[in-house]
């Protein structure tokens, strides 16, 4: 049992890391009052950019290059998300529709650019980050398993979660951002520029999702193609709901999805479980998500004004 846990957890963390940072991106955006259903598209664009930078621009897979790829993925995600911000905040478009447009746009744009600039729809990644044991933290009894055999990016994401929490709940900026998601009219009358805050929220959400895509590229993907992230952005939305729009709630939710997904994959290698119908394992993560949503959706605590364009004249 303990051995199984030791096997599953490092793999689960691999999968959890990008999911977590993407869901956190969704959190920042929705906290500012903009529903971001385009996470899937944004992360794909971030993944494409980092793969492109790594393979074509740098053509080098050293630690420094990988870090540059991470940063460029994040920046690309941030700028890509500005399309959503412009449509939904400035042009007051329906946020769900404009997010959907990003999801349609991103894979097409990625493959188009990839074919034009890299010559093929897939971009190969020869070498990603290496797995290491995190110094000190991996020595902690029991919980140390979380930090053994892990990518450096997992630690990075954990730090980002903590910083995001601190800013959202302890800094003036966070208080202002959250007020825009709950009651933009209150924020407006307190002299806060609601639309600017929401632009910030969407931009940060784009950077996080883009970083998530870049993390996939620089860790376990091996190449850029649509299949490496297919559906992760939507799973992140589920994690956001499951985690009740709270940073550490999202952390737990992402870990839950990571473990269900990994145990489904590991089961195919296990002799005993091999005998059981495969469909049980292939659909397990999605059925588990549905069940989790049934349990947690009823008293949902989504930001009150998320999804509504802000119009100063309306009361």
């Amino acid at each position: 049992m303990l051995e199984a846990l030791n096997n599953i957890v490092p793999l689960a963390i691999c999968f959890t890391t990008p999911l977590l940072i993407i869901a956190l991106g969704g959190l920042v955006s929705e906290r500012s009052g903009v529903v971001n259903i385009g996470l899937e598209g944004i992360l794909g664009f971030g993944a494409f950019t980092s793969a492109y930078v790594l393979n074509v621009v740098l053509n080098d897979f050293s630690f420094i290059s990988l870090c540059i790829a991470l940063v460029s993925g994040a920046i690309a995600g941030g700028f890509f998300s500005l399309i959503h911000a412009f449509a939904s905040i400035t042009m007051k478009a329906n946020q769900v529709i404009s997010g959907t447009a990003l999801n349609i746009l991103s894979p097409a744009l990625a493959i188009y650019l990839s074919r034009i600039f890299a010559g093929s729809a897939n971009i190969g990644i020869k070498q990603g980050f290496l797995k290491t044991n995190v110094p000190l933290l991996s020595k902690i009894p029991f919980l140390g398993v979380l930090f053994r055999d892990a990518y450096i990016t997992s630690l990075l994401v954990l730090i980002i979660v903590i910083i995001t929490w601190f800013i959202l709940y302890r800094r003036p900026l966070g208080l202002r951002l959250r007020s825009c998601g709950e009651n933009p009219h209150a924020a407006d009358s307190a002299g806060i520029n609601v639309n600017r805050m929401r632009y910030l929220g969407v931009f940060v959400s784009g950077t996080f999702a883009g970083l998530g895509g870049a993390i996939i590229i620089t860790t376990y993907a091996g190449e850029f193609s649509i299949n490496i992230y297919n559906g992760l952005g939507f799973l992140a939305l589920a994690a956001l709901i499951f985690g009740k729009w709270k940073p550490f709630g999202v952390l737990v939710a992402a870990l839950f999805f990571g473990i269900t997904k990994t145990s489904a994959e590991i089961s195919t290698m296990n002799n005993l479980l091999k005998e059981m119908p495969q469909i049980i394992f292939t659909t397990f993560p999605y059925v588990a998500t549905l069940i989790a949503l049934v349990v947690f959706s009823k008293n949902s605590v989504s930001p009150k004004a998320a999804g509504e364009p802000f119009e100063a004249g309306k009361r």
Binding site: T100, I104, A108, I241, I279, T283, P285, Y286
Partner: protein, 359 residues
Amino acid sequence: MDSSKRIISAMIRYFLVPLLAVIFGFFICSIIMIISWQDPVKAFHALFEGAGLFGNIRRFGYTLLAMTPLILTGLSVALAFRTGLFNIGAAGQMLMGGFTAVLVGISFTNLPIIIHLPLAVISALVAGSLWAFIPGLLKARYRVHEVVSTIMMNWISMWSVYYFVPKLIKGGYETESLPIQETASLRTDFLTNLFEGTDVNLGIFISILSIIVVWWLLDKTTFGYELKATGFNKDSAKYAGMKVNRNIILSMMISGGLAGLAGATYYLGFTNKIIIGSLPSQGYDGISVALIGANHPVGILVSSFLLAIIQSGSDQMDAIANVPNEFVSIIVAVIILFAATNKTMKLWLDKFKKIIFRR
């Protein structure tokens, strides 16, 4: 004077904004092409030529073939939108509909076509609506957001088909099913010959009939009235004594049934078998069709035609103008972005209209 004003504002509401969105879409994409050293005029000419708009009846047949399921998935998503739901699950519902239809199409032998074909088509309708029943129930009963639940259902449908096709109806290859019986096929010699050997099939009539039925249902019946009231404002529907939860589930099921029918036209009319491992892209394209068609049945007829042109002409565009065929999705996304900003666009148009009327 007054009525002409009203007609103009109605035209702006239903017609002008989507049209402008399409024009903007092509315009922006031309700019993208120019930036990446492509020739937009050549590309779009090739696109329309490839779709058979310049008189090639065979190519036009392929456009109609592509249009057939798009009408149905577009209607599916639009009906859900009109009743307050966002059904991203059309792909899964279409796949389940198609899978069931193919299963029926293979399993029954020696049935006359007059029974076998309708049976297969109806089983697709039923399967699609049952698949949509689950997210409908979850939404009504447990307030699970349908966007997330239908996406989960999509994956579940893909893996279910992946599992059951080799188990039940394994064909020549590991990844596909047996072909369906002739008696379950939507193809007819008449249509095939008319369009010079393409796979245009009876599905196109199913699609057009569905447009009429959906329009009638939403605009003319008490049932449609209830569904729309529930979609616009659940609380007032409840206040008026309507069964809100039942309506949500029924909306979802009708939407799923339409997607299931799309599966029937696609798998019984075109592929004649199921290929495992992916979700039909028409399911997602249905979202684009619905959004560009402003969720109106007539609009959907137009927008599904537009999308079909773009899809069936893209290979020609790739071959002649050397523009990757993924590019067409960029056109679609840009059109949707513009269509989504209709609120602000309308505002601008109203201002524009005012200036004209003042003169």
